[in-house]
Subunit: 228 residues, 2 copies
Amino acid sequence: MITDSFPPAVRVALPAGTMAFFMTQSPDKPSTKDAIIATAVDLFHRKGYYAASMSDIARGSGIHKAGIYYYFSGKEALLYGIMKRTMDDLLAHLKNSLADAKGVEASMRAAVRGHVEFHLRRQKQNFIANSELRGLSPAHYKAVVKQRDDYERIFQSLIRSGVDEGVFAAGDIKILSYAILTLCTAGAFWFKSSGRLSVEHIAAIYEDFVLKGLKDGTLKAIQRPNEA
Amino acid sequence: MITDSFPPAVRVALPAGTMAFFMTQSPDKPSTKDAIIATAVDLFHRKGYYAASMSDIARGSGIHKAGIYYYFSGKEALLYGIMKRTMDDLLAHLKNSLADAKGVEASMRAAVRGHVEFHLRRQKQNFIANSELRGLSPAHYKAVVKQRDDYERIFQSLIRSGVDEGVFAAGDIKILSYAILTLCTAGAFWFKSSGRLSVEHIAAIYEDFVLKGLKDGTLKAIQRPNEA
DNA sequence: GTCTATAGGAGGATAGAC
DNA sequence: GTCTATCCTCCTATAGAC
């Protein structure tokens, strides 16, 4: 029976690059369904959604392509499942990051750090979630965009609180939220877990960069008139 | 005769959304070649490189699909031409922005402002150049990545000068350059020219945000040890 | 320069055996 | 549950007429 359902959520959080995020049973023998999902994530990330074929995904999963349709109704269902679960987990991760933070500055630091860490640790899924929206059906597109908007609103309300309390400099809240989120999201595009710097170190750099950018400093251009 | 050659460069710089960037003759009647390029830019941006078919491009250009092969050797040649010219123009634009700036802070401000303005004014091409690299042949891929690296190096040497002179806070130069560039590039993904804010206003916000982030401020996390 | 026609292949998806 | 076989559509690219 085809359900298009994905295994509940993240059970284990292990180093990036493994299939661990998808496993629902023994790490030694992932279920066929988990193998399909993990392969799809890998191929959508490496080649892109359109360039990755169902045959590719089947080959990587150790089955033949017709077998995929026993678990999923089609290629788009696979894409949507990956994106939806990534957005679900992203939101849960943010709420978790914010749980212990007291005050607006500490909250923003926690939010930025959490956002960066999630994007670096689950690089492939986040890359897909940010670059393959056009592959979704209209209904699924709307659903994922709504998830993204809900997530962004949390950052926007943090910025607004900070500005109201005088902790952050005045500025355009939407533009600032886009700036902060895209800045941190972009890490998922170039980060190499084998590189010089750890996830935590990069998250700390971003945290400082964003906080300095938000606070009062050497303002000069905000009110600059349009130039010729 | 097929040459895959693109018209020399930017002749006219008019509002985004027009075909003006591609026109080499009268704005009233673009050449077939210019129409093909402009349509390809539009479709690669809206639907993605793989999802846009040669038939789509031909239809938008007012010819039939076989006609495209009179001007271009294939679909990939079209993609590469768009990307190469975008990167050429981007580099030229940066050099032009930097020409009059004196001192490292003013230079960085000019560079950021120029980068943002170019990305917002030529949104579609920059979106393509940043998201469709996987569609290129290996040789063309290498060529475009080299152009991008050359461009990044200019920002990196600006950051390095600023740090050496004590104008900017110490930090990881590569990470900072990626942060700055992806931050500003991301504007090409969400910017709407019909929106509330002008290109110049957004560029000014980004300029301040980046400069505050680079200068000394309320450092706290750079040396933080890894957390549990 | 642009068209019609078509080659040649690949991809998503289904039917039905095992 | 997974396989083999196949359908049907769509795509890039070419051939050759006009």
